[in-house]
Amino acid sequence: MRRISTIAGCLAATAIVAGCAAPGPAAPSLDQEARAIIQASFRDQGIAKVDRLQQDLGQSACSDDKAPSDEVAERVQAEALASVKWPAGGQYFGNWIEGERIAQSGRGMTWTDASADPKANGGNCYNCHQIDKKELSYGTIGPSLWNYGKNRGITDVTAETVAPIIQYTWVKLWNSKAYAACSNMPRFGHKNLLNEEQIRHIMSLLLDPRSPVNQ
């Protein structure tokens, strides 16, 4: 338990730093005006419709240059955690080769993409994270995931003792807001960006002791 909270805290801290910092007064009328201007400035194009501007609580709470109140943040996190769909049959793992392919791809869900089916989407992982060290072109918005499983002492994914970290990772991939209200990481499962099978592949990439990430 202690270990989980430490790791979660580490990731959450990163997300908060990446989010919002400087204070600034917000005039309600300007806020409303700005929202109306945003709505009026966009139009549908392909699969990207204007309904994408309708914010849920997590989005609206994190649309400021300062972080939401603790109370709001906790509500966002609780709702996110409650929304997580656990893998069918308790099967958390797939194939890390597929996982690497998904992690490499930054495609999907833009107005130039033909289909919104998760099968057409990538995970965008390398855009923000170092994962397999062989890939030099990686982003730094999120923490390095090199040796993600190894650093957490995973030598056997079926061991009872590692169940909490496996579950933690599943939640993080499914709905990152569960651990950090204003996380910059997309909610891959919750927003149907990746399907269960694709998330299983990413799980293998990150956690399987045989994955190149854990060598």
Partner: protein, 265 residues
């Protein structure tokens, strides 16, 4: 004890990652330096200059009487003060929307039709070339957008709110990638656009020649593609959000020297 070991391992891994990053970053720096000498933006700049002086359109007029904010015909220094308020239209305009306005009023071209034209096509390609040339004329000058008019201050505030607005399938805002120093997407450095990110960085680099597709991109297309990658719907050319974001980034960049037109990945 075990926790300590894990923490140490994590730190070690981070340290090694930093070392490797540096060598890749050095390689990229070398690549960018090699590209600097001979920026194809010069081709667009030359085209823009001749378009500015050429008599065109139903009114067979040049753009030499166009007021970009410092009086009719003045080009030098205008780029580092845009977007700004224009009394003749009663609103804030950025460089590209102002150019379309001049093409419409002076040359008699159909401004609304130009705004709907795809980037890189027809008169829209001409707008980009013109913007490239206008930017070149302010090269080395420092950004200093006016904020005296209430509309200019309002534009900044709207832009700031648009910058932090999260939406789309991936919950991204501009701020998700551009509100912190020193971060990257893949190998691309992400300027912190909530402040002056430095000379020739961010707002002070566009229009820029994109080597990935060999196209010249003005700020309107730069923002359009940011929103595409953000998984947002499509922002209209010259829409208020795009101009307000320009005001927000431009005011924040106060004091930054312009290197536009730059060359970019």
């Amino acid at each position: 004890m075990k926790h300590l070991m894990i923490a140490a391992a994590a730190l070690a891994a981070c340290g090694m990652a930093a070392a490797q990053t540096k060598s890749a970053a050095e390689g990229i720096a070398e690549y960018r330096k090699l590209l600097e000498d001979g920026n194809p933006a010069e081709l667009f700049e030359a085209k823009g200059e001749s378009l500015w002086k050429q008599k065109r359109g139903p009114k067979n007029a040049s753009l030499e009487a166009c007021d970009l904010g410092k009086g009719p015909g003045v080009v030098k220094g205008t780029f580092v003060e845009l977007p700004r308020y224009f009394a003749d239209v009663g609103k804030v305009m950025d460089l590209e929307t102002r150019l379309v306005h001049c093409m419409s009023t002076l040359q008699g071209l159909d401004g609304a039709a130009i705004a709907k034209t795809r980037f890189g096509q027809g008169e829209m390609a001409n707008v980009t070339a013109l913007a490239t040339w206008v930017a070149t004329e302010s090269r080395g000058m420092r950004f200093n957008l006016p904020q005296a008019h209430p509309q200019e201050r309002r534009s900044y505030e709207v832009g700031k709110r648009a910058f932090f607005f999260r939406g789309g399938t991936h919950d991204f805002s501009c701020a998700a990638c551009h509100a912190v120093d020193g971060q990257r997407i893949r190998l691309q450095d992400l300027p912190n656009l909530t402040k002056n990110p430095g000379d020739g960085v961010g707002f002070a680099a566009w229009p820029a020649y994109r080597v990935s597709n060999g196209e010249m991109w003005g700020m309107q297309l730069r923002l359009n593609d940011c929103y595409r990658q953000q998984r947002f719907p499509y922002p209209g050319f010259g829409s208020e959000v795009t101009i307000a974001l320009g005001t927000y980034m431009g005011v924040n960049a106060k004091g930054a020297a312009s290197i536009a037109p730059a060359i970019k990945r």
